[in-house]
């Protein structure tokens, strides 16, 4: 290809790549799913399950509180996604193009870098009856002990959803920022303003639909994630009963090995719940679109905004503030001596936790970095191949929307929809029977399964949004397809590519179960160490490891934000929006 100067790829290999890449990524999930479907129907000879039966499902349905658990997962998926999306829409509507918007962009990197569990710990420290808020209230209200209030772990799962929203809103904000330029905000806002619409109404009615169309897949990924989340639910969620995914993990980990059959049936139920969340969300999209049409048709201009703009900043500001305060709180814990309620700050501080943690962290940090950078880069190459192959299937696509076909999108995003715990056991058995021992390349391959979908999420829309006429100009000057890709398209997409790389990197850093199971404990990363140590419940150690876990993704997100500015500082039109 490199040598042919005519700038054309034949269609056939393109189509093959467009299907081969997602198939490659979905294969492990498919294999793993077989390993869960069989035990769900009673077949797992290693544990004495020789015949197929429906007994695991009967046992599952007879479990107390199963309905509540499933409903919690369903509600968590829908509520988290709805509030996160709404918060982002309102924030952009109120602050697009203002100082508030620029501030948010700058503060995004650390917010994104904080691992979910760390953010959840931070929020718990903030809102628990023994946390910061009540410590501040203790003096004026005159209590010397935490009040007996059920805030963290409330039966409705509100604390859990708050924790998820605090982490998902920054993620959706990131992808929305990347999508905004393609939604043509300046001209649309001008037009709606000329028709007398208020700023927020104008944005929500004209620009937002164009943004939402581009970030729809990330939104669906958030919905799937929130319905099957384990770590955040363990820290902030209700326990009696817990959301379905948490109970699933408990069954999988039960000393009574016969529970694994029921756990496999539970994994299929989790899959159904996540599926239901996605279907309900899509139905909700239709409803919202109809509502928007009615509002537009009604003709009200909503020119009077008053305090609405201020109110619109609340969700994003709260989310950002809670993650920031949570992280600072974790840092203070990591250096605290004994710290009793209701002291707002610890009476003594030292670095003893750090001096014990740091010498042990170097090895895991190196492994983490290596696996993350390689799996993210590999994912980037695969995704670029996939997107470019797909784009070239529409040679005359100028101005026409190119999208991944539903089959391909379904395959790519399968690893995000199927709960990890559901298919990792099957995958582990398969790898073992192939006699694949734990190694860095194998771990990278396993991470790739989870990293590639996020890279694709972040890159697909910007990739298809670049005006193909730039490359046509390059071709007309005698440059080939490869030159066009490397000298025109990729440089133009520097920001999007680096953002995708950073997201992939952070995703790899955060992987716990795949690292533990596929790495067979031979390849400890900062995350496996953090989770193991967190089980000891020492807030100092949890704090120190949470900060270490944040470190690498923070660097990645900071670089992805600043490098384009440095590289293109002399090119005015290339400055990131």
């Amino acid at each position: 290809m490199a040598g042919n100067g005519n700038g054309r790829l034949s269609k056939a290999p393109g189509a093959a790549i467009a299907l081969a890449v997602p198939a490659l990524l979905a294969l492990p999930v498919g294999v793993g799913l077989v390993g869960v479907v069989l035990p769900a129907f009673g077949y797992l000879p290693a544990l004495g399950g020789e015949a197929f039966s429906l007994a695991p499902f009967r046992q599952l349905l007879a479990t107390p509180g199963l309905g509540t658990s499933a409903l919690l997962s369903l509600a968590s998926g829908l509520v988290t996604t709805a509030i996160s999306t709404l918060g982002v829409a309102l924030f952009l509507a109120a602050f697009h193009g203002t100082a508030g918007d620029r501030l948010a962009r700058r503060l995004l990197a650390p917010l994104l870098a904080v691992p979910h569990a760390a953010a959840a710990f931070g929020l718990a420290f903030l809102i628990a009856p023994s946390g910061l808020v009540f410590r501040l209230l203790a003096e004026p209200l005159g209590f010397d002990r935490p009040p007996d209030l059920l805030i963290v772990g409330d039966p409705l799962g509100l604390a859990m959803m708050a924790g998820l929203i605090a982490k998902e809103m920054p993620f959706l904000l990131l992808v929305a920022f990347a999508a905004l330029p393609q939604a043509d905000p300046v001209r649309r806002m001008r037009l709606s303003a000329s028709l007398g619409y208020g700023r927020m109404a104008g944005f929500l009615l004209t620009v937002w639909p164009g943004v939402y169309r581009q970030i729809r897949l990330p939104v669906l990924a958030v919905a799937a994630y929130a319905s099957g989340v384990v770590d955040v639910a363990l820290i902030l969620g209700p326990s009696l009963p817990a959301p379905l995914a948490v109970r699933l993990v408990a069954w999988m980990n039960d000393p009574d090995l016969s529970l694994r059959f029921m756990a496999s049936a539970g994994a299929l139920l989790q899959l159904a719940v996540t599926g239901a969340v996605l279907l309900l969300w899509i139905a909700g999209e239709q409803l919202t679109a109809a509502l928007r049409r009615r509002v537009t048709g009604g003709g009200r201009r909503f020119a009077e905004e008053g305090a609405t703009r201020l109110a619109a900043s609340i969700p994003v500001a709260l989310a950002g503030a809670s993650v920031f305060f949570g992280l600072s709180w974790l840092f203070v814990w990591s250096i605290a001596g004994f710290w009793a309620f209701p002291d707002v700050l610890p009476p003594s501080a030292d670095l003893s936790t750090w001096s014990r943690v740091l010498p042990n962290a170097a090895g895991p940090l190196t492994t983490t970095f290596l696996v993350a950078i390689l799996s993210a880069s590999l994912a980037l190459v695969l995704v670029v191949m996939l997107l470019e192959a797909r784009r070239r299937q529409f040679p005359a696509a100028a101005g026409r929307a190119v999208r991944l076909s539903p089959a391909v999108a379904g395959l790519i995003y399968l690893p995000l929809i199927v709960p990890q715990i559901a298919f990792l056991f099957g995958l582990q058995v398969t790898l073992l029977s192939l006699d694949l021992g734990p190694s860095i390349p194998l771990l990278i391959a396993a991470h790739l399964v989870f990293v590639a979908p996020y890279v694709a999420l972040a890159l697909a829309d910007p990739w298809f949004a670049v005006d193909p006429r730039y490359e046509q100009v390059a071709a007309s000057l005698g440059h080939g397809a490869v030159a066009g890709l490397f000298r025109v398209r990729l440089p133009m997409l520097t920001h999007a590519v680096l953002t995708a790389l950073a997201i992939g990197f952070a995703t790899s850093v955060g992987q716990y179960l795949p690292t533990l199971l596929i790495g067979a404990g031979r390849l400890p990363t900062i995350t496996t160490e953090a989770v193991a140590l967190a089980s000891g419940g020492n807030r100092r150690v949890i704090g120190a490891y949470a900060l270490l876990q944040t470190l690498l993704p923070f660097l990645a997100f900071t670089l992805s934000g600043t490098l384009p500015r440095l590289l293109w500082r002399s090119r005015r039109a290339m400055k990131p929006a």
């Binding site: 797992l44 544990l47 107390p64 002990r145 000393p255 090995l257 605290a336 004994f338 193991a532 419940g537």
Partner: protein, 406 residues
């Protein structure tokens, strides 16, 4: 401080001496061949990694076995032993009967019973270890784990005994604290919202239920046999009555429970609850040393006895370094390793060795350990109540979930 250092030096001297004495005993030929085989092997030791102290102790063991026996020890840190069980299950499912990824696993109770039942453990080895001669075999829990005979398939590592902690600064002297499950119930009624227990199947939570079960049943001998559905309801009725009575006065009115012992420890530190319990009598002292609990916390126990058991290390059936795993298991029950383990500066876990079987110097070294202000000496820990057959717990956990779990 100076005094501490002198004590440490004296101890170090006695250790060197003890190590020398051990080396003089000519190992028999069978053990020598194990040692020969072990040299150069790598042991992947899967053990809970939630405590920096324990992790540091295991790292020390790694250094020692490397130096003495040429065995490399890698600590695979787990958040739950179940992950190790799952790995061995997966390996068996894949037909990987040799060259497995786990060589040694820290285990006891239900996890052990499950692995033994499914044939996931190597054949018995513990009684052939040279240091077995020092093990306190008069303690039944060393050879019978949760009423199931270990058949030597796990080697004892440390003892456990249920003890209670409270903060004397908030709750007054420990002498006034409850002395039985019945008194605990009365105390909880007088202090609503200040007591809780981890929700089963958490290990500590389940153990607490067993304590109440044994105390409230007129004839606990029934628990040494597997659960009998015919009399399950009648036998466990006093337990449910007790739990029903305490439910409304629990922390958060019983609508939530702490996740595990560490969570309870944090709740004691924050003043959310006033009585907590642990399986390691030295927990409170080491938590005070780590700045996790105030130095006003003290221990107490029930004079009528509390639950006690032993934790072990076992070798999976498909381990790729069985000889080296045995060498590590043997070192873990050497008086030197056990002494360091019982010292709260390193870990504070009770020994499984019998004092009267040890050479005099070692015995003195154990007696000289400074257990810390919050730790009861072994003589004041009270009688041991034996663990019920594990099938009781399975049924009780199910029933608990049905009653309080939703």
């Amino acid at each position: 401080m100076v005094q501490n250092r002198v004590a440490a030096m004296a101890m170090a001297a006695s250790l060197v001496f003890a190590g020398g004495a051990w080396a003089q005993v000519a190992p028999d030929a069978a053990w020598q061949s194990v040692l020969d085989e072990a040299k150069g092997e790598t042991v992947y030791f899967n053990a809970w990694g939630g405590s920096q102290n324990i992790n540091d102790y295991i790292a020390w063991v790694g250094g020692e076995v490397k130096q003495r026996f040429g065995v490399t020890l890698n600590h695979v840190k787990l958040d739950d032993t179940a992950a190790a069980v799952a790995t061995v299950v997966a390996e068996k499912a894949a037909g990987k009967d040799t060259g497995g990824s786990i060589d040694l696993v820290w285990i006891n109770g239900e996890n052990f019973v499950a692995m033994q039942e499914q044939g996931l453990l190597a054949e018995g080895f513990a009684t052939e270890l040279p240091n077995w001669q020092y093990v306190d075999t008069s303690n039944p829990s060393v050879t019978v784990d949760f009423t199931v005979p270990t058949k030597g398939q796990e080697s004892p590592w440390g003892g456990a005994k249920l003890v209670f902690f409270s903060d004397t600064a908030r709750s007054g002297p420990v002498e006034a604290m409850p002395k039985s499950a019945g008194e605990l119930l009365e105390w909880a009624k007088a202090h609503p919202g200040r007591f809780s227990y981890p929700a089963p199947p958490d290990f500590i939570g389940s153990s607490f239920l067993k304590q109440v079960l044994i105390e409230t049943t007129p004839d606990p001998a029934v628990f040494q046999k597997p659960v009998d559905e015919a009399n399950f309801e009648a036998v466990t009725k006093p337990l449910w009555d007790w739990l029903d009575a305490i439910q409304p006065v629990l922390w958060r009115s019983g609508r939530d429970h702490p996740q595990n012992y560490p969570a309870m420890k944090q709740m004691l530190a924050d003043g959310e609850v006033e009585i907590i319990f642990a399986f390691n009598p030295a927990e409170a002292s080491s938590a005070i040393a780590a700045g996790e609990l105030p130095d006003t916390v003290r221990s107490f126990t029930f004079p009528g006895g509390t639950l006690g058991n032993t934790h072990f290390v076992a070798i999976p059936f498909n381990s790729s370094a069985k000889a080296a795993a045995k060498v590590v298991a043997d070192f873990l029950i050497s008086s030197e390793a056990q002494l360091r383990k019982e010292d709260p500066r390193y870990w504070g876990d009770p020994t499984v060795l019998a004092m009267d079987k040890l050479p005099e110097d070692d015995r003195d070294a154990f007696a000289a350990i400074d257990r810390g202000i919050a730790t009861l000496p072994p003589s004041q820990l009270g009688p041991v109540l034996a663990e019920p057959h594990s099938s009781w717990m399975t049924r009780i956990e199910e029933e608990w979930k049905r009653r309080y779990g939703n």
